[in-house]
């Protein structure tokens, strides 16, 4: 059900992201999507990869600070109000979103968003009750 996301701590220095991508390229790991949260001093690079476990090992070996986190891939109707509908359900259920970003590929006609929730189980169950499709981890990597 859950998607494995790899987060990497990076200082704000030129060439740092390239270092990550070159490690992944050499290991033959494909980047499915990424998001970067940054401050003036540092950034957190979040990646969904073709093989999270292998990526974690490879990146750690390359000396990077890595953390594997569970996130949720949610199908969003690709029409006005699609995202709002989901946020509305979460809001009413008092589920807190830590962060979210878009997935590059679509699931059929629908868009896909990646969510990090404070309470993952509650989020999944409330969304499920309202007929929102959660995309399984194993499926997401191959979309």
């Amino acid at each position: 059900m859950l998607v494995k996301q790899i987060s990497i701590f990076l200082e704000n220095k030129s060439g740092r992201i390239a270092e990550v991508t070159s490690v992944l390229a050499e290991a033959g790991i494909n980047i499915r999507t990424l998001s970067l949260a940054d401050t003036t001093d540092f950034g957190v690079l979040r990646l969904i990869l073709s093989d999270a476990d292998e990526a974690e090992k490879t990146l750690k070996n390359a000396g990077l600070t890595v953390r594997k986190t569970d996130v949720v891939a949610v199908e969003v109707e690709d029409k006005p109000g699609g995202l709002n509908n989901i946020l509305d359900i979460l809001g009413k259920s008092e589920v807190n979103i830590e962060y979210m970003y878009t997935y590059v590929h679509q699931a059929g006609d629908n868009a896909v968003m990646i969510f990090k929730f404070t309470d993952i189980e509650k989020a999944i169950s409330r969304l499920g009750q309202q007929g929102i499709n959660i995309i399984d981890g194993s499926t997401v990597y191959d979309l």
Binding site: F9, F42, L64
Partner: protein, 433 residues
């Protein structure tokens, strides 16, 4: 002008006779009244009566800052508290500052020596002294103040801070002598410029600067910007406060140590052996007239050398060079003493932080800025930015609370802090002083 011609120009031989007599009396008294010294002397198998010549000072044990901390607060006092009329404390920040006391006679001696220092720096009784050293537990403000009064000058006890008001006072009161830290002096110059006040139109003639390391380059800058003659003053609360040594404005080449009250030595910081004049090493002081707080062979950790050459000003007292560094890793950040080990213990007490750190000191707009770089470990790396920022903030707050100094904390990647020969470089001091 020489404030105390008799002593300051005394032939060396006569001076040494007085020094020996005073040293013997100090040892007798310290041994008799301070349990710490009695034990130290006994451990070193030396008795006060063994001091028969000035060279015998080598047989005496050293005193360190840690000894003062161990005897916090009044354990090193050699007189009962009813004889102590003043207490000062260093800016030491480990939770235990070093505390010093003065009898009425000590305060009077200090004032006289500070008057000598001011006179060496160009002040006379006709001058108005703008004293921007901080007043309080720090010895700077009150030390200079009493010396100025002893000299008979008019002193403006303006203390530190409120810079714009200081400039207005300078314009309106027409002070002729400035006493301040060199970095604050440059800050004053900048603020004056912003306010459209030209130092060349003020009445300053001389400035007496110290309490922090500075350089010949800073002297040139201050002299140019303030249109004055700038001299260096040295002192530390453990020995007395400001006025232990002062440069004469005639030569501006080293600080005359007031040797009839303090015996300076240079030691090799590793072997602890006494070094001859002209050798660079750690400066050690023994006070020979102080009553409440005598100190024997105090290791200042300041690196300098002693120069016995006769001086054009007529003083016979040996000169110490400008302090060139420290034999420990102490940093002075905006007047606060900071040891890297103190930062390290704060980091170790902060949850989720490994003590892999580096301190970077910069001076921007004449103010010191300390950046604490902390390597983020697996355990403390959160996927959320706000948690990381919270961690930075926690470290900054803990350091402020423990050390009393504001720093900027910056999380960095593991192993990004340069290690030389496997040993991390803990301090990078970029200050151009």
């Amino acid at each position: 002008m020489i404030f105390d011609v008799e002593y300051e120009t005394m032939p060396r031989e006569a001076l040494e006779t007085i020094q020996l007599k005073r040293l013997q009396a100090t040892c007798e008294r310290a041994y008799a009244t301070v349990p710490f010294y009695r034990k130290k002397f006994d451990d070193a198998k030396v008795k006060p009566a063994d001091i028969k010549s000035l060279d015998d000072i080598n047989r005496l044990p050293f005193t360190t800052k840690q000894d003062l901390r161990d005897n916090y607060p009044f354990g090193m006092f050699a007189t009962p508290m009813d004889k102590v009329i003043r207490i000062h404390a260093s800016s030491g920040t480990t939770g235990q500052p070093t505390v010093v006391g003065y009898t009425k006679k000590d305060i009077d001696t200090w004032a006289s020596l500070m008057a000598r220092a001011l006179a060496a720096g160009g002040a006379t009784k006709d001058d108005i002294i703008h004293n921007a050293y901080g007043y309080g537990l720090f010895t700077g403000g009150l030390g200079v103040h009493y010396g100025a009064e002893k000299l008979g000058a008019s002193v403006i006890p303006v203390s530190g801070g409120n810079t714009k008001r200081q400039i207005i006072i300078m314009k309106d009161f027409g002070p002729t002598i400035l006493t301040a830290t060199p970095s604050y002096t440059l800050h004053l110059a900048e603020v004056a410029e912003e306010m459209g006040v030209d130092f060349k139109e003020l009445k300053f003639k001389f400035g007496i600067f110290g309490a922090e390391p500075w350089s010949e380059k800073m002297r040139e800058e201050i002299e140019l910007k303030l249109n004055i003659t700038a001299v260096d003053i040295y002192g530390l609360s453990e020995v007395m406060g400001p006025g232990v040594a002062n440069e004469c404005f005639q030569a501006k080449k080293g600080l005359h140590v007031f040797e009839d009250h303090f015996i300076p030595e240079i030691i090799d910081e590793n072997t602890l052996e006494s070094q001859p004049f002209g050798t660079s090493g750690e400066l050690v002081f023994t006070t020979i007239t102080k009553e409440a707080f005598p100190i024997i062979r105090y290791r200042t950790r300041d690196i300098t050398m002693l120069n016995p050459e006769p001086c054009i000003c007529g003083r016979t007292m040996v000169r110490m060079n400008r302090v060139s560094g420290r034999s420990d890793d102490m940093l002075i950040i905006r007047g606060v003493n900071v040891f890297p080990s103190q930062i390290e213990s704060v980091l170790m007490e902060t949850e989720g932080v490994d003590p892999h750190y580096q301190l970077v000191v910069d001076r921007a707009d004449n103010l010191d800025m300390l950046t604490v770089m902390v390597e983020i470990g697996e355990a403390s790396f959160f996927d959320e930015v706000k948690k990381l920022q919270h961690l930075e903030q926690t470290i900054t707050e803990n350091i402020k609370e423990t050390l009393g100094v504001s720093v900027k904390t910056k999380l960095v990647e593991p192993k990004s802090i340069a290690r030389s020969e496997g040993k991390a470089v803990r301090v990078i001091d970029n200050r151009k002083i």
